[in-house]
């Protein structure tokens, strides 16, 4: 299965990544290889196996609704590229919700 450049650009857009033309070419190849491997796996007969999202046999792992200490705002903001008081500051975001 060969991914088109258009598909690669679409995936990059969904991940908000800016790709150069060279990268589009390279990733088209790499992603196609990954898909080819998935195609390979699909040749296995899995008719008798129920769809499985997890391999370990855990169920119903929950915790009680109890508050535990958070980080301090200073710790939280320590690596923020930009801050404004106790807020993270980012480029303006308009529309969407």
């Amino acid at each position: 299965m060969q991914l088109s450049h258009e598909q690669v650009r679409h995936i990059a857009e969904l991940a908000k990544l800016a790709l150069t033309d060279d990268e589009v070419e390279r990733f088209a190849q790499q992603l196609s290889d990954v898909l080819a491997w998935a195609e390979e796996l699909k040749r296995l007969d899995t008719d008798s196996i129920p769809p499985t999202a997890q391999v370990f046999d855990l169920r119903n792992v929950t915790r009680p609704d109890v508050v535990r200490p958070s980080l301090t705002a200073e710790e939280v903001l320590a690596n923020a590229p930009q801050r404004d008081g106790d807020y993270f500051r980012v480029k303006p975001i308009l529309d969407q919700s």
């Binding site: 969904l14 792992v61 009680p64 705002a73 807020y87 919700s97």
Partner: protein
């Protein structure tokens, strides 16, 4: 996004009720996001009380999505969701799982939201609502559990992010497209909100965003079955906004269709200030969320025994309670509904009825609650659970009225004093000297004083003008600071006046 901001104004002659070239039926489905009232967040132990906290003070490596952290499901949030599902008559499947909904946005630290895609906790329910057109059943498609996003503050040339809200438990309640008017959509929301508050799973506050609503609106020619193109309307932060926005959107689509144009599938936002829906984004290709099962969270398999246990904890819901109030206490349906609407008020009412059983009918209790007590609560912007008059205290007051120790006028004054001071009825009555005057001799003296100082009305009465009696009763009440027993004053007054005639 540089989407054009369009605002369609509604010319008067095209307002609702005007004739279209064709008759359309509106088809509306609702999506409600309700923050679940938990102590901690959905997947970590940070406090979920984000509203009053300083920015970014309820944040930890899990809700900040630092590498290598693992989420763990909040048990209470699961219970609240299942409880809601059961209250809405949903099935609780034996297998539910979480999924990742992928989209990059600064309010989403992980770059995906943990939500439920194809196997939610609750499916296939229904809710009965009362609309102008009569009772209607709205089918509930699903109730699922997810996490809230961070709060964005837009500040001119930048946006500010507070991650306190990121990871707060959120349930989404989705209906089938069963609603056909803005009024019905609003009625659905009112009914749902009442139930959520009854269950104690959500505080119902729309303005603060604890309860958020989106409507999917489309039109189709009346009598047809297939659906038209639907438009999603967001930013509905009040019941009024829900009604206005849906009405507006129905009208906008009708005009497009009447003009031979087609409706495009978009997301619109309600602009409360301008009173119109505003284009937000195109749906085309936008919803590519690439859902996949959340590998960090094992699935939930609610056992039938546990579901039965949850069902047993369901409180009596508002509709059933109102019906019982009519049946059991003989209340008028309107009053019963008002009293059953909020759990705390319904419980207060029933506790008062029980405490006052020996002397006051339930209807009498209802009148006091709906009248004087509600007025005091409103005037003091006070909730019933902060009310300093207990059900037993109110019952004692009603007892004093029944005994004739105080009259109706004074009793309102006593209640107000009880409400502000927190003192018991008899304490207030004694302290303020408000005991009802039943003493004939003393009342006769007061009446004579009143008659002497009002010779003109006396003459009018003697000339046959009965209506001055009310004036005299009023004067006697004034003289006695409202304490005179009107049942004694009336006859006594007549008696003294008649005596003057015979002089």
């Amino acid at each position: 996004m540089n989407a054009p901001r369009l605002c369609y104004t509604t010319p008067q002659y095209l307002c609702r009720g005007t004739r279209s070239a064709m008759d359309y039926e509106a088809v509306i489905g609702m999506e409600v996001h309700a923050q679940i009232r938990t102590e901690s967040k959905m997947f970590c132990g940070c406090s979920a009380d984000y509203a009053s906290a300083t920015p970014n003070s309820h944040v930890c490596p899990v809700c900040m999505a630092l590498p290598g952290v693992l989420p763990v499901i909040n048990q209470r949030a699961v219970e609240a969701t299942v409880l809601t599902g059961l209250a809405l008559g949903c099935d609780i499947p034996e297998f539910a799982k979480f999924d990742r909904k992928n989209y990059p946005y600064p309010d989403l630290p992980k770059g995906y939201q943990i939500s439920q895609y194809d196997l939610p906790l609750c499916i296939r329910g229904h809710l009965d609502i009362d609309t102008e057109a009569g009772q209607q059943t709205v089918r509930i498609r699903r109730v699922h559990l997810e996490e809230d996003t961070a709060k964005l503050v837009h500040a001119g040339d930048s946006s500010l992010i507070d991650y306190n809200r990121a990871g707060v438990p959120l349930m989404e309640i989705v209906t089938e497209a069963d609603l056909h008017s803005a009024e019905a959509a609003s009625a659905y929301l009112v009914t749902l909100r009442t139930i959520l508050r009854y269950l104690g799973v959500n505080n119902g506050n729309m303005e603060e965003g604890a309860l958020r609503c989106e409507a999917n609106v489309s039109l189709r020619p009346l009598g047809t079955e297939s659906f038209g193109t639907k438009v999603e309307v967001k930013n509905l932060n009040s019941f009024r906004a829900v009604r206005q926005a849906i009405d507006y959107e129905i009208d906008r689509q009708r005009r497009l269709l009447d003009a031979g144009q087609s409706v495009t599938q978009v997301t619109m936002g309600w602009d409360d200030v301008r009173g119109c829906t505003v284009f937000q984004r195109s749906k085309e290709g936008a919803e590519d969320y690439r859902y996949f099962p959340e590998p960090d969270l094992p699935p939930l398999t609610p056992s039938r025994a546990w579901v039965a246990e949850m069902r047993a904890t369901l409180p009596e819901l508002p509709a059933a309670r109102a019906a019982r109030f009519v049946e059991q206490y003989g209340l008028r349906e309107h009053d019963a509904r008002l009293l059953a609407e909020e759990r705390a008020i319904a419980e207060y009412f029933e506790a008062t009825v029980a405490a006052a059983r020996a002397h006051t009918e339930p209807r009498g209790v209802a009148n006091w609650l709906l009248g004087e007590l509600f007025r005091l609560l409103r005037e003091h912007a006070c909730d019933i659970d902060q009310c300093r008059v207990s059900p037993e205290g109110l019952a004692d007051l009603l007892g004093l009225i029944h005994q004739g120790a105080i009259n109706a006028t004074v009793s309102k004054q006593v209640l107000e004093e009880m409400f502000t001071s927190g003192d018991a009825a008899d304490v207030v009555v004694r302290r303020e000297g408000l005991t009802q005057l039943n003493d004939h001799a003393e009342l006769a003296r007061v009446i004579d004083r009143v008659l002497v100082s009002n010779p003109k009305p006396v003459q009018q009465y003697l000339d046959g003008k009965q209506s001055v009696l009310a004036f005299f009763v009023g004067q006697v009440m004034r003289e006695t600071r409202g304490q005179a027993n009107p049942n004694i004053v009336g006859p006594l007054l007549k008696d003294r006046l008649e005596k003057q005639r015979n002089r």
